[in-house]
Amino acid sequence: MPTFAGGVHPPDKKELSESKQITPLKAPDRVVVLLRQHIGAPAKAAVSIGDEVKIGTVVGRPEGFVSAPVHSSVSGKVIAIGEFPTAMGRPAEAVVIENDGKEEWAELKEDPAFMDLPPEQIKEKIKAAGIVGMGGATFPTAVKLSPPKEKTVDVVIVNGAECEPYLTADHRLMVERPSDVINGLRLIMRSLGVKKGFVGIEDNKPDAIAGMRKAASAFQDVEVVSMQVKYPQGAEKMLIKAITGREVPPRALPMDVGVVVQNVGTTVAVYEAVRFGKPLIERVVTVTGEGIREPKNLMARIGSLVSGLIDECGGFSAQVAKVVAGGPMMGFALSSLDVPVTKGTSGILVLPEEGIFHADEFKPCIRCSRCVDVCPMGLTPGLLSVLAEKGRYEEAKEHNLFDCFECGSCAFVCPSKRPIVQLVRLAKSMVKP
């Protein structure tokens, strides 16, 4: 079964939420729409306090090429524009909108011939809808679909690995809306002029594989690939290796080996944007973990507060130690529950005190090689952590520090429980790439 070298097998804990149908979260009384929900330049506020907006009204305009617009996810009135706490820790600019409860859409027009649109128009619609990579990286999708002329892309892969433990948002989308995923994939292929599309799914989601295969059976150019269950199978480079056998060189992009990868949620958003002109104003968020009373897969408006999602799931069931935005391997631990859901929020993970490891109780590296064995990038993470600890950042750089994408496999297996990812980030911040 296709996979990559290295990787780890953390308990997947998908059973908490994998069978829960996606249910809508009631639009909150107030949404906090961050102007920067993507990699690149933040959007610039396009509304003023007191303005009336509808669902889908642009509240932030993109600044520059690598940027994306943001839209209102409710209808109502702009009541504040300013700094707001975020999941990443740093406050950031946001537009706060009070919901009038009317649920009025700005503009929503179905294009029955959406499959026949020319590539440029597809890209325009994707760009206007503010779609970004919804797996967590939040790179603007329209930019990804506009490779420079000298790069030839011949394969599109939909990333259905969802290799992070606990998360089931993509899984549910593939089970409940397989044909939307396939349509989205074929639109992306069309926009790039690509003749071959894959959907890569980890073997622990047989219902998704079966459903997607059925939806794809009508199309010769789309193939659903079942992959080995292993973290980080969903990392772009590992996914590309597993499905095409191609290796993306260090510092290079997938398009350098002719591949574009899109997340499942992104692919569905592309379909909705191109067919209905629907901007990205909501997404599936898995609310899960041993510390939540009733795990769910929620369709939540962008800008809903995490506290609202937790309430919708019955609140905490245990003494809670950590609330994580994203998965347990790469997610961000929240300091406050009053932070908004963004386009990149794939899950809210609630972890109780028991089973939590406290980061300050680590020991010296015993050079056991476990991190070397699991590193998908072929690095020596233990050595990097020791060099960072001693302030030898330049030396860390010589050991390919910047090839690390912080998947956390090393820190997961480390018997000394060293905070390897933290030390790697420290080193990265101290030297130029």
Binding site: V8, I310, G315, P364, D373, N400
Partner: protein, 351 residues
């Protein structure tokens, strides 16, 4: 709606730390205690053949190692390391690397294992910075220190008796010692057939260090560690294979003239003798003092094998596993640096 989250917020503060937020269950102490447990079969066989004296020696090493780790660790500001099990394991390995004859009141020899523990724990490990920072395998350094300080006592071997009543066990030479001093003819005289010799070596019914004699028991422990993935094949197999091949090529002599005859050596006898199995599976595989990269570990194992053969076939000592591993310990970081890992997708730039 707000009530629950207000309550939740008031109840506790959330922990914020860098990902990953889940960790595997393996810990340093779990590794150390598991390795210690995997040495048990070999220890039991050693005690079976050499009697309560053997158990006394091992217990003395374990207790003194743990006590030194505690006291000196406290004194130099590295307290609380006993529970990680590494001092216990060092004491256990040191004890298993000593002859049972050291358990002797007249002449008094009990200070020897204690001083060995002191050298292993304090000088080799703690003074270099403690677990993770030592360059040499502590137990082997302890043994090397004792071998040069008390060469007679350290090479006085009890004959295996497998009785617990014999008060004055006879002393005898190890099979490797006999091979070195008196040749293969003498070995055949004692054991009759090669098959019988191999059988004795396999079971452990021969003179030697307490924990090294039973190859069968060591293999059980070693395979268990391989199965648990606490060690990998890279070091033990390259080590053993090198010894086997080199001995086969260069280990044979013409019985009449004593001249080297190529490709007539006895690899089986060499593989089953001395401290090779104990060294290859439990000492050369020490994480801290070996290389980290798997390819470097193969080079490390081959180096251990070559030096072992050099000493066994040409050196003054009958056995060379200990010096081989200690010498290769010096090179471990250099080998790592020489092979250097290749990152994913890396391609050599063609000139």
């Amino acid at each position: 709606m707000a009530a629950i989250s207000e309550k939740a917020k008031g109840q506790q503060r959330l922990i914020v730390s860098v990902s990953p937020h889940i960790r595997s269950e393996v810990t340093v102490s779990k590794i150390m205690w598991t390795v210690s447990a995997s040495l048990l079969p070999a220890l039991v066989m050693g005690v079976y053949f050499f009697g309560p004296k053997a158990l006394g020696i091992v217990a003395l090493c374990v207790v003194s190692s743990v006590v030194f780790e505690h006291l000196i660790g406290k004194a130099i500001g590295k307290p609380g390391t006993i529970s990680d099990g590494s001092a216990f394991l060092t004491g256990l390995l040191l004890g298993m690397n000593l002859p049972a004859s050291l358990w002797s009141i007249n002449p008094f020899m009990l200070h020897v294992p204690i001083l060995g523990s002191l050298f292993a724990i304090v000088i080799t490990k703690l003074l270099f910075g403690g677990l993770g920072y030592n360059i040499f395998n502590p137990a082997l350094m302890g043994r090397a220190f004792l071998l040069v300080s008390w060469p007679r006592a350290m090479t006085t071997w009890l004959a295996p008796t497998a009785t617990f009543v014999g008060l004055d066990a006879k002393t005898t030479a190890t099979p490797l010692g006999i091979l070195k001093e008196e040749g293969v003819g003498k070995l055949m005289e004692i054991f009759g057939t090669k098959g019988n010799l191999y059988l004795h070596l396999l079971i452990g019914d021969r003179a030697g260090s307490i924990g090294e004699v039973s190859v069968l028991a060591l293999l059980i422990g070693g395979l268990f560690l391989l199965y648990k993935k606490y060690i990998t094949w890279h070091i033990p197999i390259s080590f053993l294979a090198t010894v086997g091949v080199v001995v086969w090529i260069f280990g044979g002599k013409d019985p009449a003239t004593g001249h080297l005859v190529l490709f007539t050596g006895d690899p089986v006898m060499h593989l089953l003798s001395g401290g090779l199995m104990l060294g290859a599976f439990f000492m050369a595989t020490d994480y801290v003092t070996g290389p980290q990269l798997r390819s470097a570990q193969v080079i490390f194992g081959i180096g251990c094998g070559l030096i072992t053969c050099l000493i066994r076939l040409l050196g003054g000592f009958p056995e060379g596993v200990m010096f081989a591993i200690l010498l290769m310990n010096c090179f471990a970081p250099l080998i790592d640096r020489a092979v250097k890992s290749k990152p994913f997708g890396f391609r050599e730039v063609k000139a």
